[in-house]
Symmetry: C2
């Protein structure tokens, strides 16, 4: 069975970059099927060689076309790249995002590119946990780069890009004040800001606005985020953006403390999501119910409450 | 300080329906400020009198106009109603949903109606936990009914309506096959299905399609979900819908086992969200770091991994 996580030859297959096995395993992860943590642990320890880049931004910020341009340029430079497009919505509203995927499809026949989208249906631990597991698989496969794309619409999606060592935030000249107000929270995780659709009116003003905001924010352990104008349709500004991505990677290489600080932030979140998933399996799926018949009766009579019941759940060593 | 959760007179104020205090407390909950669980526990135990109705559906299904009609009709019947509109998105994409709110605004000057929206920014335990806490506050205030509205775009939003004792699922004749495919998961939590915009072509076919799907699904401990055509603009079908909501409430009143089964499902999820939030505070906010400097070094060298580190986190009795 391809992708069977108990198959003895699955780890070597992933490590040598077997696309079919990897895709099947990621599907299992996405569906929320139980994947042995031993397998993920082995893959994680074998990985760490891919350069992981995260890109987020509101719908309409043109993330997909930026990625399309980056793919073209990095491929020209001989890099092998995987893209993990994380879609927080279910199929109900997923149309627009799946439509965006089409723009990247011209890379679909290129064996040096692997594009994979992921949505949250079924994943008991949520999309964030599943994204980390999928990244573990892609990283173990030995891609030169892994790009993680998320729609920046909520705290969860924003937190997901923490898996990346370099985080790009995309917006447009017409991104309004609503976006600005969110940026207070977002700016602390962005390494590089992109003002896309730079041919539109107001691009320079937008760059100035972001620069002013960044000026007031503290630097991130020595790295000062920069702002880049990009026209992802024509490709203008992409070379410049790539140089900056490169500079950030070099910065992390030479600044161990900065590297550790962001790893700490990232792994704290990943650990939380791993633990939260385990908790969900315990509370929602365990054979022994988490509350007794008597407790349920007490709840109906309002003699107890969910807050008290939650405190009484025994979380064994297995947790 | 209004809404100060440590103020001794806050509980009596909420119980007598003080709008200002309740609104401030819900804001604290929404922002993810720490609200003492003692306070929530007292409010929960004092509550349980409101009829809680959940309504979910994809964007464009006309949930807000259905609610608008329900508000008008229930107000005519003398009921006092609170609406909790749960918006999973951040301000970035929140425009459309906030726009919908406007339709309900004609009730804004009616003292028998309280409309409150909630989004997820800041809530460490996620929107689901915060929604439960807000519902605890509203329920304690003594409203005859509380309507919870969520956009049905992900598992999380679907799970949130479990707080309700009666769950309405809204769709339209033009809801496509994509929606249908999701329904497999959604149908198990819906008590009443609404085909809104029933003046559009295909309404009867949609009703038949849902009925056929429900026919294949097992009944929910004796309750068989029904399908109702509604035109929420003209109000046609609303009386019929209200009768069915009433019938479901009576069903739960007389079927203790069914009532217990859905309470069990609901409270299991609520307990999980309470525990997950506590876990998040421990992992992300605790004064003592969850991983040591040595563990971080081992992680950088890939001698350990987040899965192993997560297993080693000590979760004390306070958890």
């Amino acid at each position: 069975v391809p992708g069977n996580p108990d198959a003895p030859d699955l780890i070597p297959a992933i490590l040598r970059g077997d696309l079919r096995q990897a895709a099947k395993l990621i599907t299992r992860i996405e569906r929320g099927d139980s994947v042995p943590s031993d397998l993920l642990r082995s893959l994680y320890r074998a990985g760490g060689k891919s350069q992981v880049i995260g890109i987020t931004g509101a719908p309409g910020s043109g993330k997909s076309t930026v990625i399309d341009q980056l793919l073209t340029s990095y491929r020209r430079a001989g890099k092998r790249i995987a893209v993990l497009a994380v879609d927080p919505s279910s199929p109900i509203s997923g149309g627009a995002i799946l439509g965006d995927r089409v723009r990247m499809q011209r890379h679909a026949t290129d064996k040096g590119v692997f594009i994979r989208s992921m949505s949250s249906r079924g994943a008991l631990g949520g999309l964030a946990k599943a994204t980390g597991d999928a990244l573990t698989v892609l990283d173990a496969m030995g891609w030169d780069m892994v790009l993680i794309e998320t729609v920046g619409v909520g705290q969860n999606e924003i937190d997901i890009v923490r898996y990346a060592s370099t985080v790009l935030l995309a917006e447009t000249p017409s991104s309004g004040d609503a976006v600005q107000s969110v940026k207070a929270g977002v700016s602390e995780i962005g390494d590089i800001f992109i003002v896309n659709k730079a041919d539109q009116a107001g691009a320079d003003r937008r760059v100035q606005g972001i620069s002013a905001m960044l000026h007031n924010a503290p630097g991130k352990s020595g790295w000062f985020p920069s702002v880049h104008k990009v026209d992802s349709i024509s490709g203008n500004g992409i070379e410049n953006l790539m140089s900056c991505i490169d500079a950030h990677a070099k910065f992390l290489m030479t600044h161990t403390q900065a590297r550790k600080e962001r790893l700490l932030q990232s792994v704290k979140h990943q650990m939380l999501w791993i633990m939260q998933e385990r908790l969900a399996r315990r509370v929602l799926r365990a054979p022994q119910p988490v509350i007794s018949e008597a407790e349920l009766d007490a709840l109906l009579a309002r003699r107890t409450d969910p807050y008290e019941l939650a405190e009484n759940v025994t979380v064994g060593h297995d947790f």
